[in-house]
């Protein structure tokens, strides 16, 4: 492999390795979930039913749509359609904001009911319930941070596309950021059923 050409395969390989580390990071949280679910199945069931399925389902749709936009932006830039690429990237970032907005509404509703980490209500309640909501805030919070990071990266790529530093022939950075975005999406695809559906 000569060092002079840009190695886009290598860049993607590096990105995939990084994505492994992200999966394992969330893996730790899912590990805790599985252990505590086995220990407190009843409390988890009660907790899960208190989560708002409408908010959860809407966010799933929003995030899947954003991923579609992201994937389309990769196809668009390869054909050299700069305007379309920018439009699709804005769509992705827009969806990220909608997602965060809905998350904000969902969390505030819970806060309103006195359900937040270390709240008097949770401390007074059964231990399993406190564990469930702690895990819920931990998982969705960690995921939310990833959504923010992803949105920042997406916006940065959009600037690069605008400046034509990323173009039809050199676009591996956009592809890598999109891969990251799909990961954020994928993690949510696991969070949604685990917290909203199966309990």
């Amino acid at each position: 492999m000569s060092h002079l050409e840009k190695d886009s395969f290598g860049a993607k390989l590096g990105m995939w390795l990084f994505l492994f580390t992200e999966m394992l990071l969330f893996g730790g949280v899912f590990l805790l979930y599985s252990v505590y679910l086995t220990r407190y199945p009843k409390e988890f069931g009660l907790g899960g039913r208190q989560l708002d399925l409408v908010y959860g389902a809407t966010n799933t749709v929003v995030l899947l749509t954003s991923s579609l936009f992201a994937a389309m932006s990769v196809t668009a830039i390869k054909t050299g359609a700069k305007k379309l690429t920018l439009g699709l990237l804005s769509g992705t970032v827009g969806c990220a904001f909608i997602f965060l907005g809905i998350k904000y509404l969902e969390w505030s509703a819970k806060f309103h009911h006195g359900i937040y980490p270390n709240s008097p209500k949770l401390i007074a309640g059964p231990p399993g319930e406190s564990i469930f909501f702690s895990l819920y805030y931990l998982t969705t919070g960690l995921h939310g941070i990833h959504v923010i990071v992803g949105a920042v990266l997406m916006s940065w790529t959009a600037v690069m596309v605008q400046k034509e530093r990323l173009n039809a022939s050199d676009n591996v950075t956009l592809e890598n950021v999109t891969l990251y975005w799909h990961l954020v999406d994928l993690v949510w695809i696991f969070i949604f059923p685990l917290y909203y559906l199966i309990l």
Binding site: G10, L13, G14, T21, E22, G28, V35, N118, I131, S134
Partner: protein
């Protein structure tokens, strides 16, 4: 820096657009980054060794000797954190890995030079955060380097900041791992087939996978400690339904594989040095390369052996014990192959070889005592005693530490263009080797007799051996000072070093001394194996 630049001539020391310290801390040259890591890890090693010396002074006699119990708790915590996270994990891979790996593959740099620089910055940032945590807030953490809950969630010392620093260091380690894997897959020169990759680089490949796959678990675990302290999630708090043993599981899921991040590169160094100083091709090349991967894989499934006494089902203990014994097999394969390589070789006992030989002995003692700990029945007896402390110092210091110095004596002259003096190096090695064994073998005996680890005070019957161990620590530290001083002095002011005096057949010995910024004038074409001395044309 300016003095060093003036002392070392030519090669990558000269070719740079920037001047002063900016030429280093903003350089993406893997050799400069490797040297920056080297200075940092060596500095932290000396700091950690000094702290260890203080611990031994305190334990020289029963009762309070030179410090309070609280200081003692902080001291063994900081000794552990500095040695593990700032010295030994980045130690060989980040310093010598960066210096040597791209050249051994015939590449001009790593796959992502800027990420490489970024990961050094993360290391520096993490190190500064850890250092700041010692002197701010509630003072230095006193939890032990394992940060076990529930104590770490409750102590008033500055655990949150220290743990966050370690989190940043983990990030640095992950990025180095990603960089090395990609480099090994994509940047090999023409002709550098997988079975021509030098064994040091092979070991870094296995290490890099562990770095990538294990480090995220410690990241989330440490993040949980911070959230536990700041947000009060209660996930590990038994009064709130949490389980502290879960913390131990998650901690060791990373921290046991991390043991192989520490030792595998050391084994790689030895695999490269032994054939050169025995004038014989390595015995069982493929088995050594493969056993690195086997250790990395098997080592990822044995974390439970740290927790036999923490509350685990008998089945769990049995399975973890069995898997632990499996790790011994690839480790033994390596030891046998090194010994077979030396058989009927023309062995020259120069400094790198002496360190390599002592590695084999000390690592074997450490590894075999590990089996005593891996067997559940004997572990119950010696768990959390000085036997454990002796065991892991044999593996970590006797293994990785000695390999680090072997690598320093073997490779650094190539990069500095000057060399150390041989006699002080050997004298220093003798002191280190003798002091080391007096110190840590005594610890193992103490542990067998029942002296617990991390205790500030002890029963009078342990007094004699504790005194002996402390004397050993003085001899050891004297050896370390001689060796480091001799290296430092030699590399900046010593005799010129050129070419390939030891007759290595790997690619780093075929380039100019010191290597030029681009490593190779022309992209090399590899025509022979890494230990094919005839093929490389060395006598």
């Amino acid at each position: 820096m300016s003095q060093e630049t003036a002392m070392a001539e030519g090669g990558f020391w000269r070719d740079t657009g920037r001047t002063g310290i900016g030429a280093w801390i903003f350089s993406t040259d893997h050799k400069r980054i490797g040297l920056m890591y080297l200075y940092c890890v060596l500095g932290f090693f000396l700091v950690g060794a000094f702290l260890g010396l203080l611990i031994r002074l305190e334990l020289m006699a029963p009762g309070p000797t030179i410090m309070t119990a609280k200081t003692y708790n902080a001291l063994f915590t900081v000794h552990g954190v500095v040695m593990i996270f700032l010295f030994i994990i980045p130690g060989i891979p980040a310093s010598f890995g960066n210096l040597v790996l791209p050249i051994q593959l015939g590449a001009r740099d790593v796959a992502f030079p800027r990420v490489n620089l970024f990961s050094w910055w993360l290391y520096a940032t993490g190190a500064i955060i850890v250092l700041v945590s010692l002197f701010t807030g509630g003072g230095a953490p006193d939890t032990g380097w394992t940060f076990y809950v529930p104590f770490s969630a409750r102590t008033t010392t500055n655990v949150s900041l220290a743990v966050f620093g370690v989190f940043v260091l983990g990030f640095s380690s992950i990025l180095t791992g990603i960089n090395f894997i990609t480099t090994i897959h994509r940047m090999r020169a023409p002709g550098m087939t997988w079975t021509r990759i030098p064994l040091f680089t092979w070991s870094l490949y296995a290490t890099a996978w562990v770095q990538v796959l294990a480090t995220p678990i410690i990241a989330i675990t440490l993040l949980l400690v911070v959230t536990e302290r700041i947000l009060g999630l209660g996930l590990f708090d038994p009064t709130r339904g949490g389980d502290p043993v879960m913390y131990q599981h998650m901690f060791w899921i990373y921290s046991h594989p991390a043991v192989y991040i520490m030792i595998l590169p050391g084994m790689g160094v030895i695999s490269d040095i032994i054939p050169v100083f025995s004038r014989k091709p390595i015995f069982g090349y493929k088995m050594i390369a493969f056993s690195s991967l086997a250790i990395a894989a098997a080592g990822s499934a044995v974390w439970g052996h740290h927790m036999y006494t923490s509350g685990m089902s008998d089945t769990g203990v049995l399975v973890f014990s069995f898997l632990t014994f499996i790790v011994a097999i690839p480790s033994a394969i390596k030891v046998f192959n090194w010994v077979s390589t030396m058989y009927k070789g023309s062995i020259s006992l120069e400094a790198p070889m002496l360190f390599a030989l002592s590695f084999i002995l000390l690592f074997s003692i450490g590894g075999l005592s590990g089996l005593i700990l891996g067997a559940a029945a004997t572990d119950i007896h010696v768990h959390d005693t000085h036997f454990v402390v002796g065991h892991f110092h044999y593996v970590m210091f006797g293994g990785t530490g000695f390999a680090f110095f072997a690598a320093a004596h073997y490779w650094l002259p190539k990069y500095f263009g000057r060399r150390y003096r041989e006699k002080p190096a050997i004298v220093g090695w003798v002191f280190m080797f003798i002091g080391f064994n007096i110190l840590y073998f005594t610890m193992q005996v103490l542990g067998m007799e029942g002296m617990p680890r991390r205790y500030y005070d002890y029963l009078p019957e342990f007094a004699r051996l504790n005194f002996v161990a402390t004397v050993g620590s003085w001899i050891l530290i004297a050896g370390v000072i001689i060796v480091v001083w001799n290296l430092w002095h030699g590399l900046f002011k010593g005799e010129a070093f050129a070419g390939n005096p030891w007759g290595g057949a790997t690619l780093e010995w075929s380039v100019a001394t010191p290597p030029p910024t681009e490593n190779f004038e022309e992209d090399p074409v590899v025509t022979h194996g890494p230990y094919d001395f005839k093929g490389a044309g060395v006598p």
